[in-house]
């Protein structure tokens, strides 16, 4: 009994400090540390994000060095979906904001057009999610967005499907313009995964029959 009292009194400060540490804690955490996304932040930022959890510095001086690490539990546990899709979907909001920012920068020459969105990803479920996020982000930027999907004739689809990716998008863009699927009042934002090994999305714009990659 005396031994445990000794342990308790002697080790208590460190045990309290480590109780909230996802990897340093003596007792295992309920959440697998691999499913946490942690990032060190400044104590000032931590006081804003989590009021009351990081004490305010004392007016008479703070002799304790404080630091903060913010951890968020991943929406989907590791291994639940393929790594490529996990990388794309876990940062989809930020990617949508970044890609639509590039598109919105074309506001001068393409001002007033209605934007259509087309996404290529090997998994149609991911394509749908990406398209939804891109349309929302375009609307957030005050641009006119249509839910209409540009279409091609069966013969065009067959030819373009057999074309190498570098030529497929410009060719499809030219056909969209020729068939009137992307008219003079429209512009198409094309979002694509170009290689199955990559974890990023590329964006290009089709307007007046001309295609250009932005990223």
């Amino acid at each position: 009994m005396e031994f445990w009292l000794y342990v308790l009194l002697f080790f208590m400060p460190s045990l309290i400090e480590e109780a909230n540490d996802p990897i340093g804690a003596i007792l295992p955490s309920e959440i697998d540390p691999a499913d946490l996304e942690c990032e060190p932040i400044s104590t000032e930022a931590a006081r804003i994000l989590a009021p009351g959890q990081v004490p305010e510095p004392s007016a008479r001086g703070d002799f304790i060095e404080r630091r903060a690490v913010i951890c968020r539990e991943r929406l989907m546990a590791r291994g639940e979906r393929p790594p490529r899709d996990d990388a794309i979907l876990s940062t989809l909001n930020a990617t949508a904001a970044e890609l639509t920012g590039l598109v919105a920068a074309l506001d001068g020459p393409l001002a007033g057009r209605t934007w259509l969105v087309e996404v290529y990803h090997p998994d149609p479920r991911v394509s749908l999610k990406v398209a939804f996020a891109m349309k929302n982000a375009l609307l957030d930027r005050g641009l006119a967005v249509s839910d209409r999907a540009p279409t091609l004739a069966a013969g065009d689809v067959e030819v373009i499907g057999r074309t190498e990716p570098a030529r497929a998008w410009p060719l499809a863009c030219a056909r969209y313009a020729a068939t009137g699927s992307v008219g003079s009042g429209d512009a198409l934002m094309g979002v694509a995964l170009r290689d199955r090994r990559e974890t990023q999305l590329h964006v290009g714009v089709c307007a007046d029959g001309r295609w250009r990659w932005l990223r």
């Binding site: 942690c38 090994r197 990559e198 307007a207 990223r215």
Partner: protein, 203 residues
């Protein structure tokens, strides 16, 4: 001490100091490529590991050698450039004159801490049982024309504590080399995609 406390005391005595690794920003992102395949076949690559911060000149050289081996194993033609060297683009140096990709690595220590089981000014000196270090590495990847293709901060945290088993080195190597390979591949594909803009197009 009673006999009932003996197993716990014995376990403490048998435990060693092990390192626990926690991936923070960048290192916890998923990797889609297999670093065991020839992902960079016929790609010329220049590596620069800048000393300073967390790296001495010798450590920077070792890092570049290991990272260079990583990309060579994936089929790249790697040239390691020393940090202080001023390059003349017209003068052919060792290796490829114009690299398809240029990777710059710079490391710094974000936080270092020694924890103690006891309080007091001499606590760490008497018995510092746990040390912690958080290291950050800036990765910048540029194309042949100097265009910045990818930039990421890889942060990892290492905690030393009492324990019996550690796989920190293997886990960190898997995360670090995997993420570095992924960043370089993403940068190379981005470079190829942008090069397809033959005509100025809209805007």
């Amino acid at each position: 001490m009673s006999l009932r406390a003996l197993p716990a005391a014995l376990a403490l005595a048998l435990a060693g100091c092990v390192t626990v690794y926690q991936p923070l920003s960048g290192l916890n992102r998923p990797v889609a490529l297999d670093p065991g395949l020839a992902n960079f076949a016929d790609t010329a690559l220049v590596l620069r590991c800048l000393p300073g911060g967390a790296l001495t000149a010798e450590e920077a050289e070792t890092l570049c050698r290991k990272v260079g081996r990583l990309f060579e194993n994936q089929g790249a033609q790697v040239t390691v450039r020393s940090a202080g060297r001023v390059e003349d683009p017209d003068t052919p140096g060792e290796g490829p004159a114009r690299a398809a990709l240029s990777i710059e690595l710079r490391a710094e220590i974000v936080h270092r801490d020694a924890k103690s089981l006891i309080f007091g000014p001499l606590a760490d000196w008497i018995w510092g049982y746990s040390a912690e270090i958080t290291v950050r590495q800036e990765v910048r990847i540029r194309g042949a024309d100097g265009f910045l293709l990818a930039q990421e901060t890889l942060t990892g945290r290492f905690v030393q504590r009492l324990g019996f088993f550690s796989d920190a080195e293997e886990r960190f190597s898997r995360d670090y080399y995997g993420r570095l390979s992924q960043l370089a591949l993403d940068a190379r594909i981005r470079q190829q995609v942008l090069a397809e803009n033959a005509d100025p197009g809209p805007g």
